[in-house]
């Protein structure tokens, strides 16, 4: 479905499909048509839905035609040991970017831990081929430039589907461009070397998430919205290092009497200034 890694926070199975990254500045997206749907919560975060869906369809077609078949063959032909080694080497390079971003966010301790991780895996893990650091308890703590920008207060901006690379936001797309500067594909000196490395990054990532994307096909009613909503909540989770403020989602749509023409949102007549609360889920009426 999508290519490059980059969004791998504590990489989970179900959601890993949302991971990706790469260097495509979306110059033209400011002119994208606005979604014509009713002003729902979704259209607020995704004002360019119509346009995004077109890119999404393109990405899916590309995946079906090329990326997925190649990744499937790679998984079936290359032994797991070799695939793990490739993944570790690439991961070790991504970790360097994470170190930098820990420091940029002022997270001194985790930055040092990740720095130790890179040194350990580089020198005792045969240049990153093995991952002895994880066994020592220095597990990966992913940080990318999108997260750093978020920490610095840059808002997400509208949801964007980046050609080739998938779900993102305006802010994360800027982060993505910076991420790519520190990616494995940025290392080779020649263009062909860079393309080849990028290809390896893409296939290695895609192979890892073959089962995940298959599951996604089976459990989503609308794959586009499932990925969008999942991407946005995962990024929010990552921004808070896995501990976003807990909210009550509001599920009290039970049998309480309802005035026929009343709007769906429960009114709070006794609280005239309550309109400034963050626009999360509608507040539940007390039981």
């Amino acid at each position: 479905m999508s290519l490059l890694h980059g969004r791998r926070t504590p990489a989970p199975p179900l959601v890993a499909a949302f991971a990706l990254a790469a260097a495509l500045a979306l110059g033209g997206c400011a002119t994208a048509p606005a979604g014509g749907a009713a002003p729902t919560q979704a259209s607020k975060v995704d004002p360019w839905e119509n346009f995004n869906r077109k890119i999404f369809t393109f990405n899916e077609a590309l995946d079906d035609a090329i990326v997925k078949p190649v990744a499937t063959a790679y998984r079936d032909v290359v032994p797991e040991l070799v695939r793990d080694g490739i993944e570790n080497v690439l991961g070790n390079i991504y970790d360097v970017r994470s170190v930098l971003n820990h420091f940029l966010q002022g997270k001194l301790q985790s930055g040092l831990e990740m720095g130790m991780r890179v040194l350990t895996n580089t020198f005792f893990g045969l240049g990153g081929l093995l991952d002895p650091a994880s066994e020592m308890g220095l597990t990966r703590q992913w940080e990318d430039f999108g997260q750093t920008l978020g920490r610095w207060g840059v808002p997400d901006g509208p949801y964007v589907v980046v050609p080739l690379f998938g779900p993102s936001t305006m802010r994360d797309t800027v982060g993505l461009v910076l991420d790519r500067e520190f990616s494995p594909a940025a290392i080779p000196q020649t263009d062909s070397g860079r393309y080849a490395t990028f290809g390896v990054e893409a296939i290695s990532l895609r192979a890892r998430f073959l089962d995940t994307t298959q599951l996604l096909e089976e459990i989503s009613l609308d794959k586009y919205s499932f990925i969008r909503d999942g991407y946005l909540s995962r990024r929010r989770d990552a921004l808070f290092d896995g501990a976003p403020p807990l909210e009550d989602f509001g599920d009290d749509w039970d049998d309480e009497p309802e005035t026929p023409a009343a709007p769906a949102a429960p009114a709070a007549p006794s609280a005239p200034t309550a309109t400034d609360t963050p626009a999360s889920a509608p507040a539940p009426a007390p039981k």
Binding site: Q214, I219, L221, F226, A264, A265
Partner: protein
């Protein structure tokens, strides 16, 4: 080490809770019990380790589902339109969404091999009676966040949502449900769910 702790605690749990979970079980104890039971079975079952979907489904059905309140789960995903749904529509929605969620949760579970679960923190949700129990699934790769949202109903804690790696699974259906309802009403949503569930599982 962790395995030892886990097997020791499962032994203790087996002794302590030979009967089904009692009404006053704390939310973290409930989550711990479910996790340990699921992992113990998964570890002992060759078919599950080889990715037998039917077996994973059966495991989730027997160990996890009794502790889930599907009415709250479904109502939460459907949103305010739930009020207008007839009892028949509600029970159909509930049944179909359950099938889908069991598949989703089982599918996620099946992809994590060699796992152990550590229960971390239990946090109250501000402004509600809900609690969130944070756990971490540890396997060969990076640890995976697996949080449970529970609410106390009729004296027992029941799971009402699961967070896999940063997304609340039930909440993630909200906008998809809203779209289906705006297109074809509650019946439209039911039909879509039925169709979705008919598709054979391939993973």
């Amino acid at each position: 080490m962790l395995k030892k702790i886990l097997s020791a605690s499962s032994l203790l749990l087996a002794l302590a809770t030979a009967v089904p979970v009692q009404a006053n079980t704390a939310p973290d104890a409930l989550v711990r019990q479910i996790s340990v039971e699921v992992i113990d079975v998964a570890r002992a079952d060759k078919a599950i380790q080889e990715g037998d979907t039917a077996r994973v489904l059966a495991l989730v059905e027997s160990k996890v589902m009794p502790h889930v309140n599907f009415e709250v789960v479904t109502r939460s995903a459907v949103g305010p339109q739930w009020r207008g749904a007839t009892p028949e529509q509600r029970s159909k929605l509930q049944a179909e969404f359950k099938t889908l969620l069991v598949r989703a949760y089982s599918g996620a579970l099946a992809q994590v091999k060699d796992q152990s679960v550590e229960v971390l923190k239990t946090l109250p949700v501000p402004g509600s009676t809900q609690m969130v129990v944070q756990t971490e699934v540890r396997g060969s790769g990076e640890p995976i966040k697996l949080d449970y949202r529970l609410d106390k109903q009729a004296e027992a804690w029941k799971i009402i949502d699961v967070n896999v790696g940063g997304l609340w699974l039930v909440q993630n259906y909200r906008s998809q449900f809203a779209t289906e309802i705006s297109k074809g009403g509650i019946d439209g949503l039911i039909n879509t769910l039925v169709e979705r569930n008919k598709a054979p599982s391939k993973s």
